[in-house]
């Protein structure tokens, strides 16, 4: 291990090397960059800001819910708070977070390419993201929007008095950012792989992003046209969704969930890819059942398109349509379960290091397991009738999106931080933060399962007294969770300047991204790498090529 680093350090000194960070300076060199690594950092900065904005709304929500009556803010304000929390977190943070930051940075490195296939389109994606965010921030500053992130008609088209149109435009624009990112990834993975890097040698992170990109390209346009029709209907009132004019509001729900359920997989699949990387690197072991894990990503992406009706069991969908959607929803649970089992089996007889990325990976596996299993409650129609639109659903999707996606994102950020910045983060602080996040998360969201089964509906500004104890627990947990998120924000920024200088491969991990210096040179690899072995080939007795 150490001799590796020495060798690479020596090589680095020899070349007095340039990396993608110091190759040029100035605002212009960043805003006009077409280097995927710099664009990834632009995304990192922008999604972090949006995460902070969305988090601030969450804080206000949890503060309001400490007491049963709506006493902190007006109902109208509260409705805007949870709507904007949802809109900002889903559209501006969760969907772009892992693909646009980690995926952008890592996919070309992992497949031995110099850049994504379309670097200018990649930059365009970021500008679309910024333009969409600008509309989003404008909507917020202009008084916000109160429809819920789901924009259900006819409330959003006929009754809401808030900024539905500008928020719709924001989400509409940001869709194209997402579509172009997905398109770029698919082409890159197909056409830019290093010699010898066959499909079944790809890191699972790349497989996960490939599956995600399919959803981005095929699902996102549908929500774009749906939002467009809401905007048109709200402005011109043509009757597309107004029952008084012959329209059908349930049709909107079909269109909305056709994208928005697969969108959940846009959020979780990349995190699953991250976890596959973390588990193998931290256990220094091949993934258990590579082919199964890779194909389960594809299975989730495709079957995930066929389950949207489970959001509509009580909304007037036909009984038999509900039955089919329920059956498919149970089936889509299987590949997720398979992944969890395979990650667990990978640890068996491994050489497990309990550094921060591993803590996040373990947290992910635990929380995703709970999130996934509670998904079964919601796919089960007879039970979903009771828990639908209650805090049970809120708890479930936060276990997936916060417990899953954000744990994966933070784990990945720590794991690849040395590669991205050339600096190590402070290990002790990072472990503390991981523990605090885990505890705070569970305290925040586990009580919400109970609240949901008790019958507390979601999106309630005021609630009946018997729900108070659990709400107080949840709010208390939220303050711990918020503190847990502040820690990495502080020490990661600190480490960019003061952290110990990172070697090329601090984890002793496999994967092409670790074969180039930290931070990588602008062209990624000094020479074109050639792959001669399977992914995660840690075992010394197998597949070794000694030059």
């Amino acid at each position: 291990m150490s001799d590796v680093n020495t060798a690479i350090d020596a090589a680095r000194l020899r070349r007095a090397r340039l990396n993608y960070l110091n190759v040029s300076y100035g605002v212009k060199s960043w805003l006009l960059t077409i280097d995927h690594k710099r664009i990834a950092l632009l995304y990192l900065a922008s999604v972090s800001i949006m995460f902070a904005v969305g988090g601030a709304f969450a804080v206000a929500i949890r503060l309001e819910l400490v007491t049963p009556p709506g006493d902190l803010v007006q109902s109208e304000t509260y409705n805007k708070l949870f709507t904007m929390h949802g809109v900002v977190m889903v559209f501006f943070f969760l969907i772009p977070a892992i693909p646009a930051v980690l995926g952008n940075f890592l996919i070309p490195l992992m497949i031995g390419a110099r850049d994504l296939a379309f670097p200018r389109i990649n930059l365009l994606s970021w500008y679309l993201y910024i333009l969409g965010s600008a509309f989003g921030v404008y909507s917020i500053v202009n008084g916000g929007v109160d429809t819920g992130w789901t924009f259900y008609v006819p409330y959003s088209t006929l009754y809401s008095n808030s900024n539905v149109v500008t928020t719709g435009i924001a989400a509409f624009i940001i869709r194209f950012s997402s579509i172009l990112t997905g398109l770029n990834f698919i082409v890159t993975i197909h056409k830019m792989r290093a010699p010898g890097l066959t499909w079944f040698r790809l890191p699972l992170f790349v497989w996960a992003h490939y599956a995600t990109s399919i959803i981005m390209v095929l699902g996102t346009p549908v929500i774009a046209v749906t939002l467009l029709s809401v905007i048109v209907e709200r402005t011109l009132h043509l009757g597309l969704f107004d029952p008084a004019l012959g329209g059908d509001p349930v049709l909107f729900q079909h269109l909305f969930w056709f994208y928005s359920h697969p969108a959940v997989y846009i959020m979780i699949l990349p995190a699953m890819g991250v976890i596959s990387e973390l588990v193998t690197a931290m256990a220094r072991k091949r993934i258990f059942g590579y082919g199964v894990v890779a194909m389960s990503s594809m299975g989730i992406a495709i079957v995930g398109f066929l389950v949207w009706g489970h959001h509509m069991f009580v909304s007037g969908q036909s009984t038999y349509a509900g039955m089919i959607f329920s059956a498919l929803s149970f089936i889509v649970a299987i590949p997720s379960a398979i992944k969890v089992f395979n990650w667990t089996a990978t640890l068996y007889k491994g050489s497990v290091s309990m550094q921060t990325p591993m803590l996040y990976a373990m947290g992910f596996i635990g929380l995703f397991t709970i999130g996934g299993l509670t998904g079964l409650f919601l796919a089960a129609m007879g039970l979903d009738v009771h828990v639908h639109d209650t805090y049970f659903v809120v708890a479930h999707f936060h276990y997936i999106m916060v417990g899953g996606t954000i744990m994966g994102y933070l784990g990945g950020l720590h794991f690849w931080w040395p590669k991205m910045t050339g600096r190590m983060y402070p290990e002790w602080w990072a472990r503390v933060a991981a523990a605090v996040v885990f505890i705070g998360f569970n305290l925040t969201f586990f009580p919400q399962f109970v609240l949901g089964y008790l019958g507390m509906p979601r999106r309630y500004h005021a609630y009946v007294d018997e729900f108070q104890v659990l709400n107080v627990m949840s709010s208390a947990g939220a303050s711990i969770l918020g503190f847990g998120y502040l820690l990495p924000a502080i020490y990661l920024i600190w480490s960019m300047r003061y952290g110990p200088v990172a070697v090329a491969n601090p984890w002793g991990a496999k994967g092409l991204e670790w074969q180039t210096p930290s931070p990588p040179p602008p062209e990624n690899f000094p020479v074109q790498p050639v792959v001669v072995e399977e992914a995660y080939d840690y075992a010394p007795e197998k597949g070794v090529v000694v030059v």
Partner: protein, 239 residues
């Protein structure tokens, strides 16, 4: 030392990668591609994925159409008879013609026939403009007859509400389609100019090829819009 190599690279040896024989020094080659073939394949796949997302984008509107058509079959047929199927058929022929000239333009580009590229693409632009001109006439007619959805919509008979949905879909779908053509025409002009300047040849004509894919896709959308919008009520005695 052995660790470095086990990581999956064959060490610091410069390995010749893809077919360098082909278009390796062409001015159009972008730095991060190994050769023109890789660049062409990547661009073409990108364009196809773009078309795939376009299909889903229009797909949302086709779904709205399918549901409301099934809910209100009679109203849709009757409303459809207010469209002039003759103009629709004319436009179909014009657009198919423009697809032909587009295909011939791509063909000329692949052969490197400088002037032929420009002329075929100009023919495509002209046909596209004819299509849009007919569309303007049609829209104007609808406007005069108060068939534009919104406050001025006026429709006789008991099916005014579903008819308004029909016309909303008519304007959204044909409008979005026309928008795609309006976007396409300047791109065609640009390609014609580049073709005239001799930028394309057997080795490199990807931009023309991709523009062609886009233009043909727009044609395909119309191929579906024509029977779905114009011909529903054709066997009804209305017009």
């Amino acid at each position: 030392m052995s660790d470095v190599t086990r990581g999956g690279t064959a060490g610091p040896v410069h390995v010749p990668v893809r077919g360098k024989a082909h278009g390796h020094d062409h001015p159009a080659l972008v730095h991060h591609f190994a050769d023109l073939d890789q660049q062409r394949e990547a661009s073409s796949l990108g364009m196809w994925l773009f078309i795939a997302q376009e299909i889903m984008f229009f797909g949302g509107l086709f779904l709205l159409y399918a549901v409301y058509r099934n809910l209100y079959p009679h109203a849709f047929a009757e409303a459809s008879s207010h469209l002039d199927w003759k103009l629709g058929a004319l436009n179909t022929v014009v657009l198919i013609g423009s697809s032909l000239t587009m295909a011939l333009g791509v063909h000329a580009a692949a052969l490197g026939h400088r002037k032929a590229i420009a002329w075929w693409l100009i023919a495509t632009i002209v046909l596209g403009a004819v299509f849009l001109g007919v569309k303007v006439v049609e829209y104007g007619e609808k406007f005069e007859h108060h068939l534009v959805p919104g406050p001025h919509f006026h429709y006789e008979g008991p099916d005014a509400r579903p008819a308004q949905i029909f016309f909303s879909l008519y304007f959204s779908m044909t409008g979005l389609h026309a928008l795609h053509m309006i976007v396409g025409i300047p791109i065609l002009a640009c390609m014609a100019w580049m073709g005239w300047r001799g930028r394309f040849g057997p080795e490199y004509h990807t931009p023309v090829e991709l523009t062609g894919l886009y233009w043909h896709f727009v044609d395909i959308i119309w191929i579906f819009l024509f029977p779905l919008l114009y011909l529903l009520g054709a066997h009804q005695p209305h017009m």
